[in-house]
Structure formats: structure tokens, C-alpha cells
């Protein structure tokens, strides 16, 4: 029952002379614009935006929304993304006028409530990480990585050391090498051991006085805890380098162990993942970073502190040797407020329970699927696991993407496929703690049914959605990225 008329492009729905938003007539003198602005600066006409009535707009976007899968509508076990339930209370609370209608240049004296909230958020993030210096400024996880690498560069510069290398395991998220390159470092990738862990011998070979930072996700992208992390940190620290913890997988360990306690010097959080941001169709996120005390003076400013001598007043200050800004204004405050609400709802016991149940759900699903989609690594996993469709591919010609696409027909969002690169035919499942046993059972039943189906059926999946398998090769060669480009063709 898709409404095909309403889901045409806005440019096709447009009809000259229609409009939705109407503004009041000017209540100030109607001086001719030509008297106010030089004629050479003025456009001949406003941009050619579509012309629509308000109901057109509403019906268009509401119908588009029904073409999405989302956490609110479907089980969404997308590995590495922590697609947990997004509490509705956060939405109402983050829209309170004293939060949503606050201008970023308002002076500290008239935003004390907001500064208190953000200060407490800094404190909670420091406690959960075991790292005392906090900057809430980064806009997303990758932005946090980049910021921390600038902090590391500033630290080494201040020490008079010129270190050029950033090292990471091959299973790292793509953002790690991309952030390192963007921050001006040279990238060194380590191969894993057969068990999926950092290879200490290789690490020792590569770590030297040119090593600035070793980046590691723990638990790693296979959902396994790097048990050698204290030794890894010792090796890196002995060479004068810093250890960066990619916090993408904090949902597995929050309240159980802390990056600051297992050797990390810097880390980022993904508030939109771990603290249920939500994900907003690809953002906004929020990627605060936490660092050891000796790195705090390099953090981007401003940060919030208690005004000396007055424990009820908060102020914005820039750290002494700050790297400067990494964006305009303070940070993705709207997402931080939601994260704050989440942590205040859970409390210490709740935070730990969330991690424990994320681990329970992942292990249960791993066990349910193990006969058809086995995982090569580890008897148990933490919050996620990487299974392989290699056997199905060899024996039946069914590949991971076919299973993923067929899951859509069964009403499930697929797992992450073909990542991490170190596992052939990888399918990375992260069910999160907010799913019931019944959902996990139903999902497992669907997977078991799917692998019994004809390979041909799976290759044509999805069969029941509005579209199936977009053509990518020609579209990449001749990309159509705007509707003007469509009409030109």
C-alpha cells in the first residue's frame, strides 16, 4: 500500500504558486531592498526550490518514513552500531525550552542549569572510563579519534618529540586509519593472531621511538576482549607512545572494566551508540573524549569546571595548552543531554546490568546461530560476535549479502556484513541488551529458514520490499547526485 504519488521526488510534486510557510508582513518600514544592499550583490531570483503545500510535505515525508527500517519498528542487530532502544523520555526532555532554545553565545551566568548538566556528564564519563580529563566537543566517534590524535600530537610537540606513526590492528574500524592520516600521521597496520587478537610479537617489532599512538578497540571488532591489553600498554608506554581506546564497543564493558584501568591513555565514547543517542538516520552523534590527567591541558576548549571557591557555580574555560577548537561552539549538546538522561536513569547498577545483558544476548544469539553461521573466534563473545557464511557460500552458493537481503523479507534488519575484513564472509551481529529472548528466537528461526531456501530465491531477495538490489556499477561511473542531474540526462 505504498503511496507512489506522495513518494515522488519533491521536484516532481512541485507546482508553481503553491506554498506552505507564510510569514507575517513586515512591521518595520518597507525600505526598498535595493536601498539596503548593493545591486551587484543581489540575486535576480531566489533559488528554484520546489513549491508545495503543507499537506504535500507532510504526506511525502511520512510516506518516506515508512520505507525505513528502524529500532522503533524492527530488530536491528547491526554489528558495531549498538542499535539499542531509544527511550522516548529523552526526546521530550531534550526539547525543554531551557535546553533546546539556548543560544551558544549566552553568557555562563544565565545557563547555569545547562552547564551543571554538562559538567555532571563530564564527571560520569570520566568515572566510567577511569580517565579524568574530558572534552565533550567532538561531534561523533571519528571526530573524537581525530581530536585525541591532535591532543597526542600536541603532547609530543610540547615534549620536543617528533613521533610520526600511528599503529592499529587490521580489524580496526576504517575511521582509525582515516583519522590518523587526517591528523598527519603515518599508518601502520598489524595482522591479528589466528585467534583474532593483537599479535604481541608483531607489536614489539613495530613499536619504536617514532610511535605516537597505538589505537585499539577493546573489546575488539570480533567482540573479544583483548586479554593482553596490560602487556600491550606496557610495550607501547615503554617506547614512550600513548594507547588510544576506540570506545565503539563500550556497551560490552561499561561498569565491568575501565579503559583507564587497563592501560588506555585516551578514548572516545559514542554517545549515540552506548548511551542511546539515538542514531538519527546516520547522525547526529556525539563523540566525547576522555584522557589521562597529563593530557588534559591539551584538550580542546571550552570545558566546564566548577568555579574555584564556589562549588555551585560552573564556568567555561579553555585548557592551558589547548589544541584549539575542532568545531564551532560547545558540542552536540542535544545528544549529550539524551546521554545524560540515560545514565541518570540507569545509575551504577543499571549501567553494569546493561553491559551484562548485552553480553548475555549476544552469546545466546551466537549459540542459536552456531550450527549454520559459526564463529571462528572464541568460545564466548562479549556484546557482539562475527559469524562466517563461508561454509554456506562453498556448499550452497549462498553468500552473506544474500542472507542479509533475505532477512529484510522476514522483517529483520540484517547484521553488518563483510566487516571486519579479517573474517571471510563476515556477518557481525550485535543484538544489544534491549531485545527480548522471544525476538532473538524469532530471528534465529528466520535465519534457519533462510539457509534452507533455494540459493536462487536468496539471490533475488528482497522480494517484498519497495526496491531490490540497486544497480551500482553504472551509477558509480555516472553518478546522479541531484534531481537537476536527473533532468539533464
Amino acid at each position: 500500500m505504498r503511496n507512489r504519488q506522495a513518494t515522488q521526488l519533491l521536484s516532481e510534486l512541485s507546482h508553481g504558486g503553491r506554498r506552505a510557510a507564510v510569514f507575517p508582513p513586515s512591521d518595520v518600514p518597507e525600505w526598498p531592498i535595493e536601498d539596503l544592499l548593493p545591486s551587484e550583490a543581489l540575486a535576480a531570483a531566489p533559488p528554484a526550490l520546489p513549491e508545495l503545500a503543507e499537506p504535500d510535505v507532510v504526506r511525502h515525508f511520512v510516506n518516506l518514513s515508512t520505507l525505513n527500517m528502524s529500532v522503533d519498528t524492527h530488530f536491528y542487530p547491526l554489528g558495531s552500531c549498538t542499535m539499542k532502544y531509544n527511550p522516548k523520555r529523552h526526546e521530550r526532555l531534550s526539547r525543554l525550552p531551557g535546553i533546546v532554545d539556548v543560544h551558544p553565545h549566552q553568557t555562563a551566568t544565565n545557563i547555569q542549569g545547562l552547564l551543571e548538566l554538562l559538567y555532571e556528564m563530564q564527571q560520569m564519563l570520566a568515572e566510567i572510563s577511569g580517565l579524568p580529563g574530558v572534552s565533550l566537543q567532538p561531534a561523533a566517534g571519528a571526530h573524537g579519534e581525530l581530536t585525541a590524535l591532535y591532543v597526542a600530537a600536541a603532547y609530543f610537540r610540547a615534549k620536543g618529540e617528533h613521533r610520526t606513526k600511528v599503529i592499529f590492528p587490521a580489524s580496526a574500524h576504517g575511521t582509525n586509519p582515516a583519522s590518523a592520516a587526517m591528523a598527519g600521521f603515518e599508518c601502520v597496520e598489524l595482522k591479528e593472531t589466528a585467534d583474532g587478537f593483537v599479535d604481541l610479537e608483531q607489536l614489539k617489532q613495530h613499536v619504536d621511538d617514532q610511535t605516537a599512538v597505538f589505537m585499539i578497540t577493546n573489546p575488539n571488532t570480533l567482540g573479544l576482549f583483548e586479554r593482553d591489553i596490560p602487556e600491550i600498554a606496557r610495550i607501547v608506554h615503554a617506547a614512550g607512545g600513548l594507547v588510544y581506546i576506540d570506545g565503539a564497543n563500550m556497551n560490552a564493558i561499561m561498569g565491568i572494566t575501565r579503559p583507564g584501568d587497563f592501560g588506555g591513555d585516551m578514548m572516545h565514547y559514542n554517545v549515540h551508540k552506548t548511551f542511546t543517542g539515538p542514531h538519527g538516520a546516520g547522525g547526529p552523534g556525539s563523540g566525547p573524549i576522555c584522557v589521562r590527567d597529563f593530557l588534559a591541558e591539551y584538550l580542546p576548549g571550552p570545558v566546564i569546571r566548577v568555579r574555584p571557591g564556589d562549588d555551585r557555580r560552573f564556568e567555561l574555560v579553555t585548557p592551558a595548552h589547548s589544541i584549539g577548537r575542532v568545531r564551532s561552539f560547545f558540542g552536540n549538546v542535544g545528544i549529550l543531554v539524551r546521554g545524560y538522561c540515560y545514565l541518570r536513569t540507569l545509575g551504577a547498577a543499571g549501567v553494569r546490568a546493561a553491559a551484562e545483558h548485552a553480553i548475555l544476548n549476544a552469546n545466546y544469539l551466537k549459540e542459536l546461530l552456531s550450527d549454520v553461521l559459526p564463529s571462528a573466534h572464541g568460545e564466548h563473545c562479549l556484546h557482539e560476535f562475527v559469524a562466517s557464511a563461508e561454509r554456506l557460500a562453498k556448499e550452497r552458493g549462498i553468500n552473506a549479502m544474500d542472507i542479509a537481503k533475505r532477512l529484510l523479507d522476514y522483517g529483520f534488519h540484517p547484521p553488518t556484513v563483510y566487516f571486519p575484513l579479517v573474517v571471510p564472509h563476515a556477518m557481525m551481529f550485535e543484538p544489544t541488551e534491549t531485545e527480548s529472548k522471544a525476538t532473538l528466537d524469532a530471528f534465529s528461526d528466520a535465519v534457519h529458514q533462510i539457509v534452507q531456501e533455494e540459493a536462487e530465491t536468496l539471490r533475488s531477495a528482497p522480494l517484498t520490499l519497495s526496491v531490490s538490489r540497486p544497480e551500482e556499477v553504472n551509477a558509480t561511473r555516472k553518478p546522479v547526485l541531484t534531481w537537476t542531474a536527473c533532468t539533464k540526462d
Partner: protein, 451 residues
């Protein structure tokens, strides 16, 4: 309360199936000596009712633009947001989805972002827009890095000094570990002097970055700056106000090769600085050098029109250290807000917002300049924002206005120092921005407050 949905007996069944006797056995993967021995020191858990009371109490301790008259500028503005924007973006199908990697499960998001790209490209007068960056500041820095990639020139980047100082600071951070020299050309008259730019541009310059209307609200001669850049083989990067093009020429018409913007004014609330919306557009020839996601149109196996993430080979999850940027999560929901906002406004609405803001700003400037001790710092033409010089000091002006329920500013002294603005002027100067939301009565009240 952790939003858990398994009962104790279900947990037992699950553990049994896994083949362990307790949750603790699963945690044994983490060495015992690394496990916390005591609970985290966090504030006690709150019920929904308590949380609501707590947040409301915090909220009341903030002055809010909704109960006051907001004349504040400096990169974020109190423009009106039609209710449809909130209604649409409150739909869980949008805001609880993620990056549209699985195209078939994300056609709603993908089509909306394709429409976003189309309308943003139209606003900028350039060929293509990406699906968003974090904000105006990091977007400007990404644009400069892109210009360096496009030209292959690592030597120098020239920035017009009237650019938002937070953007310049962000760019400084992004360039610090690289060999590229950042040259900021001061603008003591409020806009840049072309001869000053000519003196510093050389054949190793990747781009000139100019903001128009600039941080002081003034209009730069972008077309001439663009010609100068192009004469030296450099690109022109323009940071623009996406609402200004309801009246002003678009970056593409002025010669910009890359345009960036803070898109907050397109339907995103102020919320103390974020999440906002980074906009980046460019000429077609540079499309494969762009940072961030790009949604493309294509057809599916049955020939049905559909949308997918195109040109992913530029991105970090494929290209890793060779990616055009490290960005992954972007500002999707804010891009959706802008898409809904622009489709509600259309060309006429956009023009009305630009005209009303411009007229009201000029009325405010005119009235304020009649007040003793008040003058505009820079005499040149401006759009919706201007620098007010108040002889008693900017802080006094802000306090007097606040007492009348009005917020103005920021004071220039609150911002990073800008070359070409003296200490004395900084102490007396502040920004005043006027949007379509301000009424004549509010403007008159501001004038009275400062008299």
C-alpha cells in the same frame, strides 16, 4: 532501570543454552584483575518522574530564547521553525534508523537525503552537495583540506580575516600537524582589501577561504576575490549563510568552487551549539574529492527508481587511510530537518525570510545608531547582522538588554582575537543579529534599553 526485557527464568534458559551456569562465567573473558571491584561512583538511578522533575529544574535555570527576545548572532540564529519540521523528524522510523548501508531498508532516509543534496546544491548555485558534515566550523576545515587535494598544493591557504573566528581556529587545529601554512589576512575595515589578499597569494596557494556575508555581517566582494584566486590557480571556498541566498547571489554565481555553510538556520534549534548541520557543495569536477556521504539515484533490478550510498570508495570504511575524510556518522537528522524546512518555504518563503531579516536588521541598526554612544563599527553594507559599538562597553550593553528580557551579542571580547580589531574596539563591540522572528516592538524595546 536498564531497559531489559528478559525475565529471570528466561535468563536461566538462555544461560543453559549457552552452556554456562552464570553470567559471571561469560565475564571471565575479562581478566579478573581488570574487573572493577566495586560499583561505579555514579549518581543514583532516577525514575522517569524524578528525571523529568530534575531536568525541568535544570532547564528553568537557563535563560531561553523562547521566553526572551534573541538578537544573538555569531554563527547561530533564532529563525522560526515551522511545526511540521518537528513532527516529521520526531518519527521513530527516521530518528531511530542508522546509516543507510542497506539500501532496501532505508529508502526513506536515502530519498530524503537525495532531496537534501538537490536543494542544498540549488541554494549554493553549485553542482553537488554531500549528505552533511558536522557543522559550519569543521565543514570549513574539511573544505580547505579538499581544496588542497583538488589542487595538489600543500604550500599555503589564505583565509580572509572576517571569517568566523571559531572556523579559523578549527582550521588551525586541522592544519597544525601538516606542512601547509595558514595566512589570515586582517580586515580592519570590516571587509578585506583586495590588495592585501594579492600580497599573500602565491602559486602554491590551494585556496582562499572567504565568508560572505562575513562574521561582522558585512558583504565581501566575493566575485573579485574569486577572480584573484583563479588567476593564481587557487580555488575559491566560500562560507555562506544558506538563508541569505533568498536575496543575495549564490556562491556558484560569485565564482566559488567549493561552498560551505552552517545549516542551523534551516530548521534546527539553537540547543547551545549543537547538533547543527555542516553543508558542503562543489563543482562537478571535484565530486570524487569530496568528504562525507553522497546519495545517488539509480534503478533496481526491476528498473524501479531507487537511491543508494554512491561513491563509497572515497570513504573510510572502504579506503581507510586513503579516504577523503574520516567522517562516518554525520548529521543526518539535521539534514532531514533542513530538507523539510526548505520544502515548506519554497523559493518565496526563502525570499521572505531573507527580506524580513534584512529589513528588520536595518531598522534596528538605524534606530540604535540614533542612541547616544551607539554606532555601527563598520559602515559598509550588511545583511542581517552588524557590529554595534557601544561607548560604555559591550558588557554594559549586554547587561542592559538582558534586564529588559533581550539577549544581544556575543561581545567580540568573548571570541578569539581577530587580527585588525583593536583591544579597545573589542571591549566596546558586539554583534546584533535580527531574524524574521523579531518584532518592531522588540527592536524598539532594545533601543530603549540601550538609551
Amino acid at each position: 532501570m536498564s531497559y531489559l526485557f528478559t525475565t529471570a527464568d528466561e535468563q536461566q534458559q538462555m544461560l543453559q543454552r549457552i552452556g554456562v551456569d552464570s553470567l559471571q562465567t561469560l565475564l571471565d573473558q575479562i581478566p579478573a584483575e581488570l574487573q572493577l571491584k566495586q560499583p561505579l561512583d555514579l549518581p543514583r538511578a532516577l525514575t522517569e518522574l524524578e528525571l523529568e522533575q530534575h531536568l525541568r529544574e535544570l532547564s528553568t535555570r537557563n535563560a531561553s530564547a523562547s521566553s526572551r527576545a534573541c538578537f544573538m548572532g555569531g554563527g547561530a540564529y533564532d529563525h522560526f521553525i515551522p511545526s511540521v519540521v518537528d513532527e516529521i523528524t520526531s518519527r521513530g522510523e527516521f530518528y531511530t534508523a542508522y546509516t543507510p548501508y542497506q539500501a532496501e531498508a532505508s529508502q526513506g532516509t536515502l530519498q530524503a537525503f537525495f532531496e537534501f543534496q538537490s536543494m542544498i546544491a540549488e541554494l549554493s548555485g553549485l553542482d553537488v552537495a554531500n549528505a552533511s558534515l558536522y557543522d559550519g566550523g569543521s565543514g570549513a576545515a574539511e573544505a580547505v583540506l579538499m581544496a588542497i587535494r583538488c589542487t595538489g598544493r600543500l604550500g599555503r591557504v589564505v583565509v580572509v580575516g572576517s571569517t568566523n573566528p571559531e572556523y579559523v581556529h578549527t582550521l588551525q587545529t586541522y592544519l597544525v600537524n601538516k606542512s601547509t601554512e595558514l595566512v589570515v589576512v586582517p580586515t580592519p575595515d570590516g571587509t578585506v582589501n583586495l590588495a592585501d589578499l594579492e600580497a599573500v597569494i602565491n602559486d602554491q596557494t590551494a585556496c582562499i577561504l572567504v565568508q560572505h556575508p562575513n562574521f561582522f555581517g558585512c558583504l565581501e566582494d566575493v566575485a573579485s576575490i574569486g577572480k584573484l584566486a583563479h588567476q593564481h590557480g587557487a580555488l575559491l571556498v566560500q562560507s555562506f549563510d544558506p538563508l541569505s541566498v533568498g536575496l543575495l547571489k549564490r556562491p556558484g554565481e560569485l565564482g566559488a568552487d567549493i561552498a560551505v555553510a552552517e545549516g542551523q538556520s534551516l530548521g534546527t534549534p539553537l540547543q547551545f551549539g549543537g547538533p547543527y548541520l555542516g553543508i558542503l557543495t562543489c563543482r562537478q569536477q571535484f565530486v570524487r574529492k569530496m568528504p562525507g556521504r553522497l546519495i545517488g539515484q539509480t534503478v533496481d533490478r526491476q528498473g524501479r527508481r531507487c537511491f543508494f550510498l554512491n561513491l563509497q570508495a572515497r570513504e573510510q570504511h572502504i579506503r581507510r587511510e586513503g579516504a577523503t575524510s574520516n567522517i562516518c556518522t554525520n548529521q543526518g537528522l539535521m539534514a532531514l530537518r533542513a530538507t523539510v524546512y526548505l520544502s515548506l518555504l519554497g523559493p518565496l518563503g526563502l525570499k521572505e525570510v531573507a527580506e524580513l531579516s534584512c529589513r528588520k536588521a536595518h531598522y534596528a541598526a538605524d534606530r540604535l545608531c540614533q542612541v547616544e554612544g551607539c554606532e555601527r563599527m563598520f559602515a559598509g553594507p550588511f545583511f542581517k547582522e552588524f557590529v554595534l559599538k557601544y561607548s560604555l562597553g559591550a558588557d554594559v550593553a549586554i547587561r542592559k538588554a538582558a534586564a529588559a528580557g533581550i539577549d544581544i551579542g556575543p561581545a567580540l571580547s568573548r571570541l578569539p582575537a581577530m587580527e585588525g580589531v583593536s583591544e579597545a574596539d573589542r571591549d566596546q563591540c558586539l554583534l546584533v543579529a535580527v531574524t524574521e522572528s523579531r518584532t518592531k516592538a522588540e527592536i524598539d524595546r532594545l533601543v530603549t534599553a540601550l538609551s
